[in-house]
Amino acid sequence: MTRLALSTRSPDGGFGGVALSDADLAWVEGQQRRTLGDAARAGLRVLRAPSVAIPGAVFLLIVIGCFLGPQLFNLPSPNAGSLGDTLKPLGTPGHLLGTNELGNDELSRLLYGGRVSIIVGIGATAISLLVGTLLGMSACYFGGFYEKVVMRLFDTLLAFPSLILAMTIADYLGPSLRNTVLAISLFGISQFGRLAWSQTLRIRNRDFVVAPRADGAGGRRIIFGHILPNVLPPLFGLALFSVSTAMMIEAGLSYLGLGIAQPNPSWGNMISDGQQYLYNAPRLVIIPCLALVITVVSLNLVADAIRRRQEARS
C-alpha cells in the first residue's frame, strides 16, 4: 500500500494530490519497510550490473570447473599417481599442469582442492551467517540479560585471534573437511552477530516492527517476517567478503597442516607440499597460489561492487 502511494508522487512532493512537506516525506520514507519479496527482487537487480556480473561469472566458472571439470576432462584421480611419473613439467601429454613429487596429476589435484576450498568457504559462511544473524537479531529484539550475555560472547570471540581459535579447534577435532568448516565458522559468528545486532537496533522501534504485535504476531514472526528482510542487505555484503576470508583461512590452516589432511588435496596443503621444491619446481607452489588468488579476487570484486552500489543508493 505504501509503495503505490509513493509512486504516484506529484513533482511537488505530495502524493495523490496531497501536498507533503519535506519532513513528512522523509518520515514516511524512513518508515518504509521491505518485504522478503522486495529483498529478493533487489538482489536479482544487483546481479545485472556488469561490475558485479563479470567477476561473478569468473567465480561461477571456477566453481563449475572444480565440480564438473574432473568428469568432463577425464582427469586421473588426484591420488593415483606413481613415483615413476614424479615431477613432470608443464605440458606433459596427459598431465596438463605436470605432476607433483608423488606422481599425482597437478590439474586434477588443483580441481579437487578447489572443491574443498569452495565447500569450506561457502559452508563456514553459511553456518556463521545463520547462527550469527539469529543470535544478533534475537539479542537486540529481546534485550535484557540475554542481550548482554550474547554481546559479551561476541566481544570475546572477536578479541581472540581468529586463527589461533581455528587452529586449536581444528587440531582438537582432527583434520577433516567438516571440522575445518566448523572451526572457521566460529569467528564469523561474532562478525555477523554484531552486524545483525546493530542493524536490528536501527529498526526495532519502527512502526512496522512494533505494529504487528497488535495483530497478535509473536517474536518469531516479527523477527523473520519484518526484521529480517530489512537487515539483509549489509549482511549479504558481509557474507560475500566472508566467503573469501574463509577460503583464505582454510588455505592457511591447511598450509600449517591443521586443515585438510593428506592425501586429500587442498590448495593450502598443496602449497606447503610444494614448498620443499621451491627452487627446482616452483610451479608446484605458484599454481595453487594463483588459483587461490584468482578465486578470492573475483569474489572480492563481486563483494566490492555490491557494496559500492549499496553505498551509492543509500
Binding site: R152, L153, D155, T156, A159, F160, P161, S162, L163, I164, L165, M167, T168, I169, D171, Y172, S244, M248, A251, G252, Y255, L256, G257, L258, I271, Q275, L278, Y279, P282, V285, I286, C289, L292, V293, V296, V297, L299, N300, L301, D304
Partner: protein
C-alpha cells in the same frame, strides 16, 4: 571521563577473563596425553598417577583454572611440558622477533599508504591503479605473498636470503634486518589496502567538503603544502585507530608468516605449542595475545578521542 575509563577497564577485564577461560577450555580439550610426553620411556601407570597428582591434573577444572590464574597474576605461568623451561622465559624470548616483525609491517604499510595517497591525490590515474592493486593485495593471504616473494627474490634473482632469521645479539643488526625485509613487506602489503581505503576516503572528504581547504588555497598555499600541513593531519584520526585495531588482526597473519620464514616468534611458539600439546605455553601465549589485542583496541579508542575532539565522551 573517569567514569568511562573505569567502565572500559571493567569491560576489558571481563573480556580478558572470558578469553583466558576459553583458552583454558581449548587447551584442556587438546587430545594427547602430556604425561606420555613427560615420562617417555619411563611410563608406568603408577608413575603417571604420581605425576598427575604432582601437576595438579586430577583437580576439578575450575580449581585448575583458578590455580593458573593465581600464578599468572604473579607472572608465573608454569613450566612447559616439552622444554622444561618456565613459560615466562619462552614468551619473553619469542616476543622480540614478533614485535620487530609487527613494527616492520606497520612501517611498510604506512609508508606505502602515504606514498600512494599522495600520488593519487595529484594524479588521477594513480588513484585507479592504486585502488586496483589494493583490492588485489587484500585478496592475497600474507603467506602467499611471502612465498611468491621468496620465489621471486631468493630463488630467481638471489637478492635476499629466504630463511635468514638472525638474532641481532649474535649476528648483528645488519643480518637481522636483511632477514626481516621480506616477511615485513609480505605482512605490510597485506594490510596496506585497509589503510589506503580509510585514508583515501578521509582525504577526499577533506578536499571536497571542508572549507579550510578552500581558504588555504585562497591564501595562496600550493597543493603539496595544503596536503601536508592541513589535510593529512586532519585525516589521521581514523587511520590511527585503524593502526591500533589492525595490530590485533596482524597477529593472526604473523602466525603463518613466521612459519614460512622460520622466525622464532610468538606465532611459531603458539603453533608449536598446539602441535606439541604443550598446554602451559599455549595458555600463556593466549593470555599474552589477548592482552595485546585488547590493549591495542583501548589505545586506538583513546587516541581517536584525543585526536578528534568531536568524539569526546560527555
Amino acid at each position: 571521563m573517569a567514569r568511562w575509563i573505569i567502565d572500559r577497564l571493567i569491560q576489558t577485564i571481563v573480556v580478558l577473563i572470558c578469553a583466558t577461560v576459553l583458552g583454558f577450555l581449548l587447551v584442556r580439550l587438546l587430545k594427547g596425553n602430556v604425561l606420555y610426553a613427560l615420562l617417555g620411556n619411563n611410563y608406568t601407570p603408577a608413575a603417571a598417577a604420581h605425576l598427575r597428582q604432582e601437576l595438579g591434573l586430577n583437580k576439578p577444572l575450575p580449581l585448575q583454572y583458578l590455580d593458573w590464574l593465581g600464578g599468572a597474576v604473579h607472572g608465573n605461568f608454569g613450566t612447559s611440558a616439552v622444554t622444561q623451561e618456565p613459560v615466562g622465559h619462552a614468551l619473553l624470548a619469542a616476543l622480540g622477533p614478533t614485535v620487530e616483525l609487527l613494527i616492520g609491517a606497520q612501517l611498510v604499510s604506512l609508508a606505502l599508504t602515504l606514498l600512494v595517497t599522495a600520488a593519487s591525490v595529484r594524479w588521477r590515474w594513480t588513484d585507479r591503479l592504486a585502488t586496483g592493486f589494493a583490492l588485489l593485495f587484500s585478496s592475497i593471504p600474507p603467506f602467499v605473498i611471502g612465498l611468491l616473494m621468496i620465489i621471486l627474490f631468493a630463488s630467481t634473482f638471489h637478492l635476499l636470503p629466504a630463511i635468514a632469521w638472525a638474532s641481532p645479539s649474535t649476528a648483528g643488526w645488519g643480518a637481522n634486518l636483511r632477514g626481516m625485509i621480506m616477511p615485513a613487506v609480505a605482512l605490510g602489503v597485506s594490510i596496506f589496502p585497509n589503510y589506503m581505503r580509510v585514508l583515501r576516503t578521509q582525504v577526499n572528504e577533506q578536499l571536497d567538503d571542508e572549507e579550510y581547504v578552500t581558504l588555504a588555497r585562497m591564501k595562496g598555499l600550493t597543493g603539496r603544502r595544503v596536503l601536508a600541513r592541513h589535510v593529512i593531519p586532519n585525516s589521521l584520526s581514523g587511520l590511527v585507530t585503524l593502526i591500533a585495531l589492525t595490530t590485533g588482526l596482524l597477529i593472526s597473519g604473523v602466525v603463518i608468516v613466521e612459519q614460512v620464514f622460520a622466525i622464532p616468534g610468538e606465532g611459531s611458539l603458539v603453533y608449536q605449542s598446539i602441535t606439541n600439546r604443550d598446554a602451559n605455553t599455549l595458555e600463556g601465549s593466549i593470555l599474552l595475545i589477548a592482552v595485546a589485542v585488547v590493549l591495542f583496541n583501548l589505545i586506538g579508542d583513546l587516541v581517536q578521542m584525543r585526536l578528534d575532539p568531536r568524539i569526546r565522551v560527555k
